[in-house]
């Protein structure tokens, strides 16, 4: 059976996690997937080497940037 090496439409998700309840969430990486289900599975598989108490993913498209390196302000 034939398959394409990559999905036709994929989205980037940023992965956030923390090790203890008093730590703030911080970005530990990102994954690329065609939907939320696979993004969750990939995030857990890729970044599960630490003993996180919490992990979450956010679609990169949902992040509103205020400023960034190389910007005007």
């Amino acid at each position: 059976m034939r398959y394409t090496r990559v999905h036709t439409d994929v989205y980037e998700y940023q992965v956030f996690a923390r090790k203890t309840r008093v730590d703030p969430l911080h970005q530990v990486g990102s994954v690329v997937a065609p939907d939320d289900d696979l993004a969750m599975a990939y995030a857990r598989a890729t970044y599960d080497e630490e003993r996180w108490v919490e992990m979450m993913i956010v679609p990169k498209a949902a992040v509103i940037s205020l400023w960034a390196p190389g910007g005007d302000s």
Binding site: M1, Y3, D37, L38, M40, Y42, T46
Partner: protein, 240 residues
């Protein structure tokens, strides 16, 4: 239906679950550099490690579950579904196993983890947390890949593995060791497969109760030795 079907011990069911999880883990791991994307490679490796870990917990629980119904330590008695006998050659086979077989095994773990056997209640719950991500992975890839005949085969063999109505699983359900009976397990599996057509007309004439399958054959000796850790012994220094 033979009367002996009802008399199988919980040991045999959990042993078959352990064998299948161990072999499924190995089959997943075989795809850790061959999946369609890098993320899927990593997920295959992670799920493989999960399932091999689950099998170790299940094997470790056997001593508290009575005695075997048959021989347990050779390839002929390794109680896996035929789908896992040989390595998969197509990604669609991986996806169908992930979406169907893995879910069938998880539903049985759920039934055991919520039953009245304390050793299983205490040890199996963590597996269900990890299996959630296997379900997500399989469900999403089912939308991406035409699994066709692989799905039909995996589903049929899953139902055969769950076993016939009024067999050992229903007997264990009546005894409280399992919270789900055969009909519950079939329905729950169908719900997880979201509208795919379920197999019809299961045939139980050649069903092997201990190995929970209808098809003859099984894994080869080399695979068994790898699974049992015997293959590594070839590399051990000779004792002097």
């Amino acid at each position: 239906m033979g009367a002996g079907w009802r008399q199988l011990s919980l040991y045999s069911l959990v042993k078959s679950l352990a064998d299948n999880k161990q072999l499924l883990g190995m089959r997943y791991a075989e795809w850790c550099i061959a999946a369609p994307t890098l993320e899927a490679d990593i997920a295959a490796a992670a799920m493989g490690l999960d399932d091999i870990g689950h099998s170790r917990v299940l094997y470790g629980s056997l001593r508290e579950l009575g005695t075997p119904d048959g021989a347990v330590d050779d390839a002929e008695n390794y109680a896996n579904v035929p789908y896992l006998d040989r390595p998969w050659t197509e990604w669609a086979e991986f996806v169908a196993a992930n979406a169907v077989l893995d879910n069938a095994f998880t539903l049985m773990i759920e039934a055991l983890a919520n039953g009245n056997v304390e050793v299983l209640r205490s040890r199996l719950k963590k597996m269900l947390q990890e299996e959630r991500y296997h379900t997500l992975h399989g469900r999403s890839w089912m939308h991406e890949v035409n699994t066709g005949p692989a799905l039909a085969r995996a589903w049929r063999e899953s139902l055969e593995w769950i076993g016939p109505e009024n067999g050992d699983v229903d007997e264990l359900h009546r005894g409280g060791q399992l919270v789900h009976g055969v009909r519950d397990l079939r329905r729950l599996l169908e719900e997880r497969l979201e509208g795919q057509a379920a197999p019809t007309a299961l045939e139980w004439g050649s069903w092997e109760p201990i190995r929970r399958r209808t098809r003859a054959g099984g894994i080869d000796q080399a695979t068994l030795e790898m699974l049992q850790g015997l293959a590594e012994k070839r590399y051990m220094p000779a004792s002097g």
